[in-house]
């Protein structure tokens, strides 16, 4: 029998013991004695969420191709096991070998959303690794952070030895080689960090000092060690087809959130929505070739046995070979009883035709993401979706048999006025009217159902809105009520539904997204107050955070509602994410003028990403 870290008595008294036993199909098995590097890869949330993440699967596969390295996985123990592990003093372990994380050389933690930060501390704490990088010794694992939140790592700077900025496929090999070399020479952890700081994309927070002005903004942010560069440039795969993809993804026993084959068709986005961090930091858009995707689609269905395949990208409709790929999938999958899921498609004649082939029209709903209620505000955010296009798409869909529509909006966007908020209700109403106008009574499948949801806008680093003032909790809720009341006035009120996101957690997300090093203390205090699984509404407790802000003497408003000056030094300015600050500034000013910027295929806007030497910037220019 495989060795398990937890005894039967514990495993049989907690929810979903399968979260902690490993042993899944396609799990990598190595003898830890045969390798020189042990790497624990962590997603700091519950197993079902973490196992759904594509990036970890890619890195897991990539690391394990190295004979000298064994990469294993670890996720956040759910609250029931968390309690037991503390009571019984059981150290956190990796799923594969079931060995304690503390015995590993590296602990890599992916940071996909801000509200996982207390779970990062849980992972360190349960692993018995000192929370602060400065307190770690030669025997502790090197703790690495990566993922989208590493584009502003400062609120976690004290807890990590280094951050990897950008796409993981490029310099990890070099980092591991440097580590091995350092180890062979019997040199210290500090020596390794110095060498690591010289690798492109690697940021060692301890090698930088920050000073502040009297008003609390940053005065200087400078390296204190000769090994550390002033600017850390993000890493990126220039030619996607050159990077390894997964051959045999792990297939969990439990039903995880993303229980399907995920095929990444492209990285980056040409659209330039001004609120979107992913659309900026993953620039330039790079596509996979059609043959590459056909090969992997077939292979991954064979090696996993999944009954569904999903295409992953920020905007699938922009993929050059989408019709060819989709037709191939329809042929390949229908014979094997495999479903196809196509998220992030623009609604048009092509996508409706495809969707009617791959899903049950009666059971599925149409999704639009206008993001803002009025054309004026959609111009401000550079969301190139017009009311005309939405209504035309909806009409086509209604004729095709659909009668359910989902709409996604944001509230609290810069320059937002009452008319913009009310526009959410008006647009929803117009879609409902389109249904009743277009479809004769005897051909309707019941009422039209329109569900509009709004989240609250959080300004993110490396977006044109990084200067924007965020709303307070009260302002957010006030805006949601304005929308809700407007919905009540609509003629087709009964066909419309309106939901909005929680406001407390959004404000906190705002602090963590644009926070600086001083916020580390707040995260730690919140964790010590008991905050954990903050992204789970049933566990989120705002009061634990408010007490933390108070005890640390830090005002959340400084990070959220303060309007930032154009010349302010941001905590993340030391990172070169490809898009220049000049470009972002230009976009911010254009937004204020309600002017749109064309997408990358229409015209280059000189964002700076062209410097990477690939992708959409060089299309048709060979």
């Amino acid at each position: 029998m495989r060795k398990l870290a937890l005894p039967d008595e514990i495993l049989l008294s907690i929810q979903q013991p399968a979260r902690y036993i490993g042993g899944e199909v396609n799990m990598c098995v190595k003898d830890p004695k045969d390798v020189a590097i042990r790497f624990a890869m962590c997603f700091p949330d519950v197993y079902e969420i973490g196992m759904s993440h594509l990036g970890i699967q890619i890195l897991y596969d990539m690391f394990n191709r190295r004979e000298d390295t064994y990469c294993e996985r670890v996720y956040s123990p759910w609250t029931d096991l968390d309690k037991i592990m503390r009571e019984h003093k059981i150290p956190l372990f990796a799923l594969e070998s079931q060995d304690p994380i503390k015995d590993f050389d590296f602990l890599g933690i992916t940071l996909q959303y801000e509200m996982c930060y207390t779970n990062v501390l849980q992972i360190l704490d349960l692993s018995r690794i000192p929370l602060h990088s400065s307190e770690r010794g030669e025997d502790d694992p090197v703790v690495i952070g990566g993922g989208p939140c590493a584009y502003n790592p400062e609120p976690l700077a004290e807890f990590f030895d280094l951050f990897y900025i950008g796409e993981g496929e490029t310099v990890y090999d070099r980092l591991l080689d440097v580590y091995l070399d350092n180890k062979k020479q019997g040199k210290s952890r500090f020596e390794f960090l110095k060498k690591a700081a010289g690798i492109p994309g690697i940021y060692v927070p301890a090698f930088y000092d920050v000073t502040y002005k009297e008003d609390g903004t940053i005065k200087t942010f400078l390296p204190n060690n000769l090994c550390a560069p002033e600017k850390v440039t993000k890493e990126l795969v220039v030619t996607l087809d050159d990077a390894p993809y997964i051959e045999k993804p792990l297939v969990p026993f439990l039903k995880v959130t993303q229980d399907r084959v995920v095929l990444e068709i492209q990285r980056g986005c040409i659209r330039g929505c001004r609120f979107c961090q992913a659309g900026n930091v993953y620039r330039p858009l790079r596509e996979h070739g059609l043959d590459y995707l056909k090969h992997y689609a077939k292979k991954l269905i064979e090696t996993t046995g999944h009954d569904e395949i999903s295409l992953s990208s920020l905007s699938s409709s922009d993929y050059t070979y989408l019709p060819e790929l989709v037709n191939y999938l329809i042929d390949e999958c229908s014979a094997k009883g495999v479903n196809i899921s196509l998220p992030s498609l623009r609604i048009d004649a092509f996508s409706l035709d495809v969707m009617s082939k791959v899903q049950d029209v009666k059971k599925s709903s149409l999704t639009f993401a206008p993001e803002a209620g009025s054309q004026r505000l959609r111009d401000v955010i550079n969301k190139g979706l017009t009311e005309e296009v939405i209504l035309k798409g909806a009409a086509m869909a209604f004729h095709g048999g659909w009668n359910r529509v989902k709409l996604y909006f944001m509230l609290g966007l810069p320059t937002e006025q009452r008319e913009d908020m009310e526009g959410i209700a008006l647009l929803s109403e117009k879609i409902a009217e389109t249904y009743y106008d277009e479809i004769p009574k005897d051909q309707r499948h019941g009422k039209v159902q329109i569900v509009a949801s709004s989240s609250f806008f959080v300004p993110k680093p490396f977006t044109p809105f990084q200067w924007a003032k965020m709303c307070t909790k009260e302002e957010f809720l006030e805006r949601a009520y304005i929308v809700k009341n407007k919905f009540r006035e609509m003629k087709n009120f009964k066909s419309l539904k309106y939901n909005w996101h929680e406001a407390d957690v959004t404000v906190l997300e705002g602090v963590l997204a644009r926070g600086d090093r001083r916020v580390c203390a707040v995260v730690e205090a919140a964790y010590n107050n008991g905050a954990l699984f903050d992204s789970w509404s049933e566990y989120f407790d705002n009061s634990l955070w408010m007490r933390a802000f108070e005890s640390c003497g830090i005002a959340p408003d400084f990070y959220t509602v303060r309007e930032r000056g154009l010349d302010e030094i941001f905590p993340w300015d030391f990172i070169d994410a490809g898009v220049s600050k000049e470009f972002l500034k230009r976009e911010w000013l254009l937004a204020m003028k309600e002017e749109v910027t064309p997408n990358c295929r229409q015209r280059c806007s000189g964002c700076g990403a062209r410097g990477f030497g690939g992708g959409v910037c060089y299309e048709d220019k060979n």
Binding site: M1, R2, L4, D8, E9, L11, L12, P17, A18, I21, G22, G23, E24, V25, V251, F253, L254, K255, I301, E302, T303, T304, G305, H306, D307, K336, G337, V338, N339, D360
Partner: protein
């Protein structure tokens, strides 16, 4: 064509619940490229049914599932093909063809064998004494228990539903009624025994293992292992 598959589920796989096992085998069928039949309709599902769900924490040497296929290779080839895409602790033991008129495994389950091994810290010091008392328990004419049902409580005689209860080395062996009516869990028998002795029955006393599942022969009422209903495909 109807196929009956026998498999074992050992070690850490005892923590995988029944629903997850069903999903596991659905994926196994696709990985092994078994030509399984699908139901009609917009979202077709594989024609597959399990004989008797196994509780979380119980290991097994005799689990069964029935499938329907449109074509197949020999039993040996298929067993091998399935095992190549399975995890180490779940193994296919046999792959047999059933008569087209056969009832599915779930509907004919009548009994199952179990071995209950003491977890080390719960092992009685006087093992011989323990088994002597167990013998006495089984020799009673009636074993009355109070069974909790949805409607309340109900008196019930366990005795006719326990077909065998004996010592096997240091472990307890039992053959009990299983299926949609009179489904007896081994824990229920042991609880009743411990209670009868005036002992407390700690939750983790035994590691339970299912050994075999049986159907009942119509004419003689003989118990037949489910795999014997099928024939090897040459």
């Amino acid at each position: 064509m109807k196929i009956r598959i026998k498999f074992l589920k050992q070690g850490s796989m005892k923590f995988i619940g029944h629903l997850d096992m069903m999903r596991y085998f659905q994926k196994v069928m696709r990985r092994a490229d078994v030509k399984i039949r699908y139901s009609e309709g917009f979202s077709p599902h594989q024609i597959m049914s399990f004989a008797a769900p196994l509780g979380v924490g119980i290991t097994s040497n005799g689990e069964y599932l029935d499938i329907e296929v449109t074509e197949t290779e020999s039993s040996a080839v298929m067993t091998n093909r399935l095992n190549q895409v399975m995890v180490d602790e779940i193994r296919v033991l046999s792959y047999k063809k059933l008569e087209d008129s056969s009832k599915n495994a779930m509907s004919i389950v009548a009994a199952a064998d179990y071995t209950l091994t003491f977890r080390e810290r719960y092992k009685p010091e006087d093992l011989d004494g323990f088994f002597e008392k167990l013998r006495g328990f089984y020799d009673q004419n009636q074993i009355l228990i109070v069974k909790k049902t949805k409607k309340g409580q109900k008196d019930m005689d366990l005795k006719p539903l326990i077909y065998d209860l004996a010592r096997k080395g240091d472990a307890v062996f039992m053959k009990v009624s299983t299926g949609s009516t009179d489904n007896i869990k081994p824990e229920l028998v042991m609880e009743s025994f411990y209670e009868g002795q005036g002992w407390e029955y700690p939750g983790f006393t035994f590691q339970i293992q299912r050994e075999e599942v049986y159907g009942r022969d119509g004419a003689e009422g003989r118990l037949i292992p489910l795999e014997q209903y099928g024939e090897d495909i040459e």
